[in-house]
Symmetry: C2
Subunit: 392 residues, 2 copies
């Protein structure tokens, strides 16, 4: 079989292959980015499903509009408001999780050999999505406040017109756990204006802030429609519906809608109607408060265990929200090899190399703290600490 | 904003824009390809949903594997068996309807300016999906038995290595309503072997045969893994779950799985588990028999009304299954213009030009008979007949 050239660039996601291994119940897994299943509102979802079938059954099982189910789009516009972004439901396209928004962003903006600017490190799933469009990646280093702006501008200047998009996760970034400062957000937007570039703002975790002040999203400061915002229900409600959204100004949103038509016509009608019915009755903001309480405790347990069991010379993010922390080991440790040993010791993480599209950085790891309880967190980090000690 | 070149080729689907107009309840619509909602098994679906939530709630709302939920893949393998294709569940990837399989086929096989060979006419949604990969289309004329093989071979020879895929809907084709003969299927497979080309066999309607002998699918005759089969629950069960599948040999299926990872990670977990639970209890084959009874009656009413109300010189397919018939008017009639007048007279169809990727053929129309009852079919065709009379 002769395949398209792009297939040479698309590789299996290490995370998803790893997740298969880590499904064994005896493994303490810090590898996935999964929400805690014990917090899913099972009864409320079941009730909403029954209501959907009894009141809107035939409609729920039929085809629906590409843009999405209007009452759900209105709920999403409300959620956007809660994130500080005033918008209208007409500016929202319902997608299959925000992963599909990433795919469409590549489709809308990238020609072969164009450049996407990403944070270094960046989200593995986004890197994989963009690769299907045969682009190249320009990594810009980050510190605790976000991308380094001088380096960003130098990178844009160096590559000129071939740069087509800047992709960022400003809140509780995956994988680094870091959050951009207000100043960097403003500077990014100013640079994007100066060089006339779109910004893809991916925000799955923004509502999961444990402490400190809310940072305005870049989209909330956007006055000329160059920011495309991606949101999702996966981390604040449930991932199994596969419902996310793109929020953008009309001109660019229409392009995303065309992508949706060609790609799969529409998101699941029944899931959209059920999600809308659920949000009519169920207080998603209270639910998010509950998630934050639990995840904050797990974050605390994670950092406490790292403080206790990780050797000198190992550093890690102290995230103020979201699902991840990021660990940097001394450069001589190869975490891809360490990951194999860790699974033998029944503990799992994602080796850091996966998050750097241009490779390198073998000495980091992404650690998730949302899935495991405090006891398992302590035990898992203890095991991992012992393995790291042996490496040094 | 600067968009990728491919966005110049992607246009809004006329069908979906038209469907918005035809949602007005006073319109008799033969435009969509929608299944009859009064036949949806509402109670059985509700029961399956409740069972899913009560027995597998947390699993159903969580992320799941990219390939799909194994019990559903096994049910799909069973359905494939009922279609005469012996396969294993490992050869199945669950997608968001077969539309997503079309998108992935473009992604897997097509570079910019490559050629896809399609039947003339062909399915509009496939044409739109492939356009995202900046391909060109080679249309091969069809008669009542399928593609004309001499023309197909001449087309392949003329365009040589730039031809990358042959796309066909051999059973009750959308839009023509025609079904390929066994001989043509065999000849197509032989030519594809000779010129080493993959065949994309799209089969949403194959189980909806009203009369006559089952025709073996091309995939069932495939002995070297060059046929990729697309199936869907949309026409035989419900479209609102957005569940379809790709069935292919392992090597090529792995490419489709990589596409799924990057595009949206996985199909909805809850919908997959619910569909599997539904099929454990609910007799889908009996349901399909029921659909066939109703659609056959509507097909009969449609052809009877066309015989009665359409003028001399108008020809149409007498389909032996599926959802559509195809009407050819004298060449001087422009059905795109006629379609606008028809909506003014509260009847709708899809103008034929949409189904020819290289344009032309303004004198045809696609007529759906699955959505409207016999009374509306007669009234709608009567109105349409009057409009056609005026055009001649």
């Amino acid at each position: 079989m002769k395949y398209a050239n792009r297939m040479d660039r698309i590789k299996a996601s290490e995370i998803r292959e790893l997740l298969k291994l880590t499904q064994r119940p005896e493994i303490i897994s810090f590898a996935g980015g999964l929400p805690a299943p014990e917090l899913f509102p099972l009864e409320a979802v079941e009730k909403a499903m029954v209501e959907t079938m009894q009141k809107q059954g035939a409609r729920a099982l039929q085809y629906g509009p590409t843009e999405g189910y209007d009452p759900l789009r209105k709920h999403i516009a409300g959620l956007m408001g809660a994130m500080g972004i005033e918008t209208d439901y007409n500016n929202i396209l319902v997608t299959n999780g925000s992963q599909q928004g990433l795919d469409f962003a590549g489709r809308v903006f990238l020609n072969e050999d164009d450049y996407v600017i990403v944070e270094s490190p960046s989200y593995l799933g986004a890197i994989n999505a963009f690769k299907a469009y045969e682009c190249n990646f320009l990594e810009v280093d980050t510190d605790a406040d976000g991308m380094l702006m001088d380096q960003l501008e130098a990178t844009i200047r160096e590559h000129g017109d071939k740069v087509k998009m800047i992709y960022v996760i400003p809140d509780f970034q995956n994988p680094s756990g870091r959050t951009w400062s207000l100043e960097r957000r403003q500077q990014l937007l100013a640079l994007a204006k100066q060089y006339d570039l779109p910004i893809l703002e991916d925000n799955p975790y923004g509502l999961l802030r444990f402490e400190g002040e809310h940072m305005p999203s870049i989209r909330s400061m956007d006055d000329d429609g160059r920011v495309i915002f991606l949101g999702t229900f996966s981390k604040i409600l449930i991932p199994g519906f596969r419902l996310g959204w793109v929020e953008a100004d009309q001109e660019v949103l229409q392009k995303f809608i065309l992508c949706k038509q060609g790609a799969d016509l529409q998101a699941s009608t029944v899931n959209q109607i059920t999600a809308a019915n659920l949000m009519d009755e169920f207080d998603i903001y209270e639910h998010i408060e509950n998630l934050k309480r639990v995840y904050r405790k797990r974050r605390d347990a994670m950092l406490k265990a790292m403080d206790a069991y990780f050797p000198e010379g190992v550093t890690y993010t102290r995230p103020t929200g979201g699902l991840f922390t990021w660990v940097e080991l001394p450069e001589r440790v190869n975490t891809t090899e360490l990951g194999v040993k860790a699974i033998e010791h029944l503990v799992a993480f994602v080796p850091g190399a996966s998050f750097f599209p241009n490779s390198g950085n073998q000495h980091c790891m992404r650690i998730n703290y949302s899935m495991m309880n405090e006891e398992k967190i302590e035990e898992g980090i203890k095991r991992l600490g012992e393995l790291i000690h042996k490496e040094l």
